[in-house]
Symmetry: D2
């Protein structure tokens, strides 16, 4: 099979780096273009020395013309609000776009403006963008030209709730998500609060009720259930590099037990290559999903409280960003969904 | 003022070490006896080299007679089920006991047996033991001869709930506690699951619904409110040495807002030397309480959900064990409650 | 090309797990047998959940007959002194063996006994074993039937010294190796000194002058140079999971400078797929080699002292164990040396 | 005894914070003034919540007049090159100064300019400043008005060498210092290379031969021995918050053994309250000195190589900065040297 030509715009952040790392070993995609803001005219394998043996490619100062000429598909791994400037140009040039920023995730531009503090400038593309969560949207992804790759917290949260919500066993008014994320989730940046000594040996909650991923979770659960959803979401900062564990508390609409709930989830996700539902009440751990594209799910029912506790684990750079982006590329391109992952 | 003579039985575990460290600088207590299972005939300052300058004391193989002769008060920092063997002998010898194990915390011996897998052998002392949470029980602690020093998780959980529960604003049927603890909470022991490489760069929930601290939390909240309480409690293991952050979700019985709830908590704890209620919705972090005896509390109300999120932070070895034990000693001895802390 | 059938005896330790992980994606090897002491009758993908999608294989209680029947080549990932019992049986059955323990590394059985505290029981195989460092021994590895896979510290140390030693620019009497290793180097075991809280936020030197890897380093440098070598070696324990950084201090036999020494190393290793010599005095970091089979080398000369400082970084589970073991398998099997790595 | 009035200029960096923390419990010093660049008009106990119970003091925007009026002694915890502007003004006002920056450490202003990239503006004070290492300079410190508080690396390095150098057993031409420091040594600042995810799970050497602490180590060893000294110094960055371990390699001028060298060090430091020389070849660990003012020293001699390996451990914020600064204050003020420490 002929390989597709792929580019990564913004290859030196954590997510961009991870996409490059995956693509370097992908059997059906050839990485033909990478750009980065700070490291112009440097070989990408000199920036990330472990790429020796697998890549020989210059990391370029971004040029739309060059990227458009060299690629059939581009990953935009750019800060929020910047992707909007480039996505429509690529689409116009018939180049498929997988945007890992938040720019095309929220369908309601008023909510986008409220949470990201800028007016959305590309409503046309926003209307056509497909939310790239394969477990919810695989068919639309197949024919999409612009993918809004899901946020890391939403991926772990939605996959924990989706099966039970679609099957009608969860009380959607009662969802509480207590999420804990590693530090790469904040991006590769200089910030006093992200200094090693500030994060290490500590732990905190932040952005209580106000995190920009809340409307994204609500939107996708509403689309899946056609009911109003408003989750309580409390993110915390874990002193680790990679991984999100989400502990989800939700009331059950009817009496059920741990075994039945597990059975329901196993059935719902039975054909999903990257979702693992644990048996017998076992619970996932971040170390079992780090450096992978998996979402592991453990479930327990407290029968006297009629409450389910659902624990999901993902790698925020894997299923929460780069891995899922490549999974989307595979689906869009007709490849085996697991290729390279 | 004449100093009291104090002993630590079990001085080489994490909690015992921390009690020794605090007492070494205590202005009104003289550490006259320390024992440890493994390190007989060694100077305690050779086991813990930072004690140079402050202590010169042999760590002894335990002898009841020696301890009884040398001490007015002893801390029992022993494994659960072992404290029961020694506490009654000390009490009979008119020596006050602060037990940091779980042996005298649960008033119902059937529940003790269910969670600790052995029959309780000292019901007489169990009846007289006072649960050593000063913020709930200060008056009884003053005249106690046997203190059941609270567990680490219960301390952080109860202090987060106590004010609102006593003041009647919280719906006691709805309490969910999502707690995260550092690794010293598991004790200084050889165990594959506690090996550095198993814990580091990971995170997990464990003992869902089944943790032995659940009945302790319920018991003390029931005593405080004279109502039935059954909390949902999910502990998690944090890759840090010290500290517990508890994120508590609880429905409000009447409309209130963040400012009002903070005001209520500030008033309730206004005379407490070791509880800090944060202003303006600020949230505590483990690094701000590590190596201290403080419990820091942050509060936010989600008005549309009529839900409070209460975040508490303690050092599991400080307010969650050794610090609180010394605070109890101070109260029992008529010292300034903050002495040495 | 027909795949070879490969087994891993001792698949549940850190090195065994890593070999399994690599082989699960190897294009020319089929993992047909895995055994583990503790986890009999469990699927290997249930022990290591990230193997879903790539393996479906039972982890068996070890049986020589079963292993011999199912494999063309076995990796023995067993504790030191245990490999000796199985290696000769496999060899007799014409099955190739890559032993990742220390049992076949030291040619002098008296030194083996001194450092490993048992008599060697298989001197016949010991004589024929090939030390599996491809950069020093590639030709012998090609035709070997028993590989003694190098230790983690020796790999990082020898590769830092080999080029300069072979080319005669280093004063072999002056070698000082200050090595720092992550905790997986100690194996997956229950041990108080390896408890998270004992290692985290600390750092120490250990086994000064006495580490069992000292004679291994000396032996291989002596073989390479045909001169007597006796290095000063001080290992330290780093609070990280994976990686070794070795800072090597060595006097130069003649005046040289940083650029010349780098040029010499680059030339020496120019055809090595897994050695990277850094340009311009740049220095390697553990994060750039973690989860890879690379050894990165940085060099600086202090001309006034006539001293070279050579810094090497490897992943102790990669080039320091499992990665190198698979590299050896590739060489023995005539595969591309980089296959699967 | 009347308390002295003390100020901390630059109280919100790591060292400033640590000085404040120590002074808050000091029996003979009253903290009367703290200033910080960023946090004006905030209570210091609101910036560092654990100070509740011990301090009630506003953190002020710096004013020389206010500081001069309120203090008998000030700690300048400012960036290098900034201290020079304030120190002479305080000295003129008869206020003692302990400068924890590097501004008054290097006696040769040309070397200062070479390493700190600015001309020194206060040569008058530079001439009178006393290098505040009590173990080398106690008598001069007693009568000093300006203390140049030693750097963190120099403290751990010099104390490991001083005894042997003064007693003439070490070959001063052969000193190699392989030092490893926690991240607080770099200060509380926003910098991409100090981001948690860049430091965590990694390890690297940096500033090989070029670190600004090299001339400081050389200068003080030269002063102590009246011989020329030029050490090889290689610093490394440890993924921990606090602590420096220095592994020092040095040739012996005459045959000696481990026991003799330990005896020499024990005798040399016998009256030092904050130096601990380990018995029997035991080696220090960072966890045993973290949060203390101790320097722990372990020694081993390799007799066949005639080489000593000396390992020292300090807390870079304790004996390496704030603790030593307070020790100097105690000496200058005639207090018990251990007061508050």
């Amino acid at each position: 099979m002929k390989k597709i030509r792929v580019g990564v715009v913004g290859a030196t952040g954590y997510t961009g780096e991870e996409i490059v790392k995956i693509l370097a070993k992908h059997p059906q995609a050839e990485l033909t273009y990478v750009s980065g803001k700070e490291d112009r005219d440097v070989k990408i394998q000199d920036i990330f020395p472990y790429l020796k043996n697998s890549l020989d490619l210059e990391c370029r100062a971004f040029s739309f013309e060059e990227a458009a000429e060299k690629c059939d598909l581009v990953f935009l791994s750019l800060p929020h609000t910047v992707s909007q400037e480039f996505a429509p140009r690529f689409l116009k040039a018939k180049i498929k776009v997988i945007d890992v920023s938040a720019d095309y995730r929220l369908k309601d531009e008023a909510i986008y403006e409220k949470f990201y503090k800028v007016k959305h400038k590309d409503l046309v593309s926003l209307r056509q963008a497909v939310y790239g969560l394969p477990e919810a949207n695989r068919d639309k992804i197949k024919s999409a030209t612009l993918i809004a790759n899901p946020g890391c917290y939403p991926t772990g949260s939605i996959l924990g709730i989706l099966a039970g919500a679609k099957k009608g066993v969860l009380d959607l008014d009662s969802i509480i998500i207590d999420a804990k994320s590693g530090v790469t989730g904040a991006g590769r940046k200089a910030e006093k609060a992200l200094n090693f000594s500030e994060v290490n040996e500590s732990f905190k909650a932040y952005k209580l009720f106000e995190h920009q991923h809340v409307p994204e979770i609500n939107q996708e659960l509403e689309r899946a259930t056609r009911k109003e959803v408003s989750v309580v979401f409390v993110p915390h900062l874990l002193p680790i590099n990679r991984g999100i564990l989400s502990t989800i508390y939700v009331k059950l609409k009817k009496k059920t037990n741990t075994a039945e709930l597990i059975a329901l989830y196993k059935k719902f996700y039975q054909n999903e290559p990257f979702v693992k539902v644990y048996e017998g009440g076992a619970l996932p751990e971040i170390k079992h999903v780090a450096h992978t594209n998996f979402c592991d799910i453990g479930l327990r029912v407290n029968e006297s409280k009629n409450l389910a506790v659902i624990v999901t684990a993902i790698d925020n750079l894997g299923k929460g960003a780069a891995g899922q982006a490549v999974q989307n590329m595979n689906i869009m391109s007709g490849f085996d969904e697991r290729a390279g992952l």
